[in-house]
């Protein structure tokens, strides 16, 4: 029997609840993680009163909830749908498996309740259920190093229990994953034409990260040690890209307002960005993120005497599009049910 249990046997289960009250015991998908896990919030406060006989204040237990921050997992073609529906609650699928097209919408509206399952099969075979949760953030990142699309997620929720649970599908990278370096995948963008799918390939992007945050907070009440209210806030977005410098087009369009511009643009120039991941195994599985209106804020490159390539940081400022969601995902996979 090992004295020290290894940390590398952990799965995160995720389940879409049918309503807030019904937590469920079956994870729709189980994800191996690069890192991160849901964990209870159980803080203590000090009771500081003028009791001369006491050298330190006693403590009391504060209301408990749970939080999951910065969990990262590879982008799997089937399980990704469960994560997407937690942020875009409406799914209008079309077509037939294995090319079932899931068009997600409803960003910023009422979200699906989710459960998360922290699964430690080798650490005392312990399964924790984190129920009545809401997704508070999703990130999508690919870099020049290749490998899987890295999907990050954050969530908060109300209840934590120690109870048995199962997984319907256990994800494995051997079954494939989304990659931006797979054949026919692409990044397309145009800095000055918004609200239309861009047709121009962006060929010198070294890494790209798209981040959505749905601010939410647990709101305890005076008469309960458990949290039963979660306040949903506004969304915020962050898009960042690192480019190898090729020409001044993006900088000129953003700062001067035109590729041949010479003086500061009086207006904010908005364009569109589209990322398209292909699957490493399944030829029919794809994942597309379309940002209809985004400012390509290009930072002027830094000179450097070491002879390294000229690089440019482009920060995407996501704007409200002419119609629909600020960020539009389309997942094509072998999963028939709508979430």
């Amino acid at each position: 029997m090992p004295i020290v249990a290894p940390a590398n046997n952990y799965y995160l289960g995720v389940h879409k609840q049918t309503n807030e009250a019904t937590v469920g015991t079956i994870g729709d998908y189980g994800f191996p993680v690069y890192g991160g896990r849901p964990t209870p919030v159980y803080d203590a406060g000090d009771i500081n009163v003028t009791d001369a006989a006491s050298i330190a204040g006693d403590t009391f237990k504060k209301p408990s909830s749970w939080v999951a921050e910065g969990i990262t997992t590879p982008g799997f073609d089937d399980g990704l749908g469960t994560l997407l529906q937690a942020m875009w609650p409406t799914d209008t699928p079309s077509g037939a498996a294995p090319s079932r097209i899931h068009a997600y919408s409803g960003l910023g509206g009422t979200q699906s309740w989710i459960s998360m399952y922290g699964r430690w099969p080798a650490a005392g075979t312990k399964y924790h259920t984190f129920g009545k949760g809401l997704m508070t953030g999703l990130t999508f990142e690919s870099t020049q190093d290749g490998g899987p699309l890295i999907v990050g997620m954050s969530a908060i929720g109300q209840t934590v229990t120690d109870e048995a649970s199962t997984l319907t599908v256990t994800e494995s990278t051997s079954s494939g994953y989304f990659s931006l370096q797979a054949a026919s995948s692409y990044i397309r963008g145009i800095p000055n034409v918004p609200n239309a799918a861009p047709a121009t390939p962006l060929t010198n992007v070294q890494n790209v990260k798209v981040e959505l945050i749905r601010n939410a907070s647990a709101e305890p009440t005076v008469d309960s040690a458990t949290v039963s209210n979660i306040a949903q806030g506004k969304l915020s977005f962050a898009v960042s890209m690192e480019w190898l410098w090729a020409d001044w087009t993006v900088f000129n369009m953003n700062y001067f307002g035109a590729s041949g511009g010479t003086t500061l643009s009086g207006t904010q120039v908005t364009g569109a960005l589209e990322l398209f991941w292909k699957h490493s195994v399944s030829a029919t599985s794809t994942f597309k993120l379309y940002i209809p209106a985004m400012v390509f804020a290009a930072e002027m490159p830094e000179p450097n005497p070491d002879g390294s390539p000229l690089r440019m940081t482009v920060t995407g400022r996501v704007q409200k599009p002419s119609s629909g969601d600020h960020i539009v995902p389309t997942l094509t996979n072998n999963v028939t049910p709508a979430y």
Binding site: K16, T18, N19, E20, P89, T90, D91, T92, P93, S94, G95, I101, A103, Y104, S105, G106, G109, T110, Q111, S112, W113, A197, K288, Y290, S323, G324, D325, V328, T330, A338, Y339
Partner: protein, 57 residues
């Protein structure tokens, strides 16, 4: 409202009270609803560039 979509297609989402909803289009790809919450969700979904749903009169 009336919507058109994929024949025998479906859509699902979440109401403001947190309950899940699910609708199906008929064999002709049409759907008629009287629920303003579903109407709003399907209208929003129809704006997705890859959505098969179109809003009718």
């Amino acid at each position: 409202m009336k919507f058109t979509g994929e024949k025998n297609g479906e859509a699902s989402g979440v109401f403001a009270n947190g309950e899940a909803w699910h609708v199906k289009f008929d064999a002709n790809g049409s759907l008629s609803t009287k629920d303003p919450q579903i109407d709003a969700a399907l209208l929003a979904a129809s704006e997705h560039p890859d959505s098969p749903i179109k809003a009718g009169k």
